[in-house]
Assembly symmetry: C2
Homo-oligomer: 355 residues x 2
């Protein structure tokens, strides 16, 4: 089984190194190969997603991804900025199904902005469509406004689009995920304003009929943003489009207080997947050896489960992470009085020891 390892920028290399350490310790038959991506790739070869990196990714069963981005690339033209690597990988590999768990770890309940009773035991799975919507819809660009409030003025535009089969396939992913959980799906839309999300809602309703054991409800995106704050535990599986999913999954992961712990997976229809932590590249703490590697280590566990069919190994990693938390080991982002502060490498070593 081939794994492309793309560490990227900021804390990416440090946290990916720990995940690789954990994979190595499992002594599975994995072939790991690294390649530059993001700002690091731009520095090395002038493009955030060089052809060799893309080919490696395409030829692999899974991609273990660190993080990309740094303020210093802000002035580059858009096509050369680090984020384009991640958008390019999603598109080229057709990674349409993004799984973003928002889990509040028992030991970290106090770290949430929310009152403990609202988040303790929280376990939401946000399923975000990742290759459609306004992220990739054509046409888009700048032009002279043909009509509207100021005809003749300079304007910019993008196109939001979803086709029936695109909505169906992410719908099936969500309903099947719900069947393995508490059998509830909330589909988030803005059908009261957008044509795209009226179709979304219609198709979700139809797909839902094929899953009579799963309860479906619909919620407007503005209301979902409120309910996540008010009563997050009302949610189980949430399915939504690319743009709304971007916003809601970040909101949800922050409110758990456990963002340094949250993995993510982005899959295509062949179960090829890209696995990365939910947090970013944190250039401010890069190179200091203090970043939390657990989200990346847990992403490696998701990779074993979803793309490599190694459920037992995935569970081993997850149990080891639980163990180091129970031992009281904490990187600075999740540290609190009475626990033991450790660095990135020590945390990785502790997970290996706990395996």
């Amino acid at each position: 089984m081939k794994i492309a390892v793309l560490p990227g920028d900021g804390i990416g290399p440090e946290i990916v190194a720990e995940a690789v350490k954990v994979l190595d310790a499992l002594k599975l038959d994995l072939q790991l190969q690294s390649a530059p991506v993001g700002g690091a790739a731009y520095e090395a070869s002038g493009h955030p997603l060089p052809p060799a990196t893309l080919e490696l990714a395409q030829a692999s069963d899974a991609i273990l991804f660190g993080a990309v981005g740094d303020w210093k690339y802000d002035t580059l033209e858009r096509a050369l900025r680090p984020e384009q690597a991640i958008l390019g990988l999603r598109k080229a590999l057709g990674l349409f199904a993004n799984f973003r768990p928002a889990i509040c770890y028992k030991e970290l309940t106090h770290a949430s902005s929310l009152k403990p009773e609202l988040v303790s035991g929280l376990d939401i799975l946000i399923i975000r469509e990742l290759t459609g919507d306004i992220y990739f819809g054509q046409p888009r660009g700048r032009r002279t406004a043909p009509d509207g409030h100021f005809p003749g003025a300079e304007e910019a535009f993008d196109t939001m689009r979803y086709s029936r089969p695109e909505i169906e396939r992410i719908g099936h992913v969500a309903f099947q995920a719900a069947q393995k959980r508490s059998k509830r799906v909330t589909s988030v839309d803005k059908a009261n304003v957008l044509e795209t999300f009226q179709l979304w809602k219609d198709v979700m309703t139809e797909v839902g009929k094929q899953y009579p054991d799963v309860q479906l409800d619909h919620m407007y995106v503005d209301n979902a943003a409120m309910q996540l704050v008010k009563e997050p535990k009302r949610f189980d599986v949430v399915v939504t489009g690319n743009m709304f999913g971007d916003i809601l999954s970040d909101e949800a992961s922050m409110l758990t207080g456990s963002i340094g712990m949250l993995p993510s997976a982005s899959l295509n229809d062949k179960k090829q997947g890209l696995y990365e932590p939910s947090h970013g590249s944190a250039p401010d703490i890069a190179g200091k050896g203090v970043a939390n590697p657990l989200a990346t280590i847990l992403s490696a566990a998701m990779m074993l489960r979803f793309s490599l069919g190694q459920e037992a190994a995935a569970q081993k990693i997850e149990a080891a992470v639980q163990k180091v938390l129970a031992q009281g080991l904490r990187t600075p982002d999740i540290y609190s009085e009475g626990t033991t502060k450790v660095g990135t490498q020590q945390m990785g070593d502790a997970v290996v020891a706990a395996l």
Copy 2:
């Protein structure tokens, strides 16, 4: 001065009645005229925004609006649903500048989902562009996909658009509002993905140069959704587009814990405005006399300030609301032990008495 009074659906009539009571008590020279809107108008005449209602609104200096919407209209075709009334009024009157304060009232700090230290004293002003973006952009509709992932399939689409002058005018509104506050503006965009919001960011930066006394920073919408949860007090004035503003303003108002207290204003370039509570029509508690009228009463205060030039009267109302809170009067939505539970009318009467 002419005011169109549009009570609407659900709790709308009850809460608007209390705001009217307060306006009457001020004995200003106001001419109030009511008209049906939303579901109520649909029932009466087959359309959520009948021509007579629209004409009344257009001929008035300001609109005092309750709320629209009820589950029972969910099956109507979109053009006849209650929300279309509010979209229609925004468009017809050109109400491009939406002011949504997110304030945490001292007395209600405990009602927030967030820990008290994160929200006590919170005072954010979200300025949402309200007549552009994907809400109104043409073309939009359903069609056979001309290209994309599934060419030939049924698809739906919408167009996100902003022109330079549209961004400039909301930018000026935001910077001028910041000059009267703590002189900080956060412009929220998604310039890393969307052409529309790259132009938005560019134009905001340019407009900002005309306000050297105001500090401008830019934030991606997903990050803004997180920072609102993590550290809401870092924000002062937030300016953003119609779609992102819909989501973020609801998130922000819910996290104050004071949503039953939050007014809003939507203005055009002639200072004509629509004033409404930030909360919805709450059909579940309609007619029970328990709805909180304070957000609507405070919306009437904003109306006096922004559209009618009656700053003194506005302050009088705001002081009266502070007073009833200090007296410990609470509708059920904001009730807590040790305070006095009152109904909608009692609350309105108390504000009048406190004037």
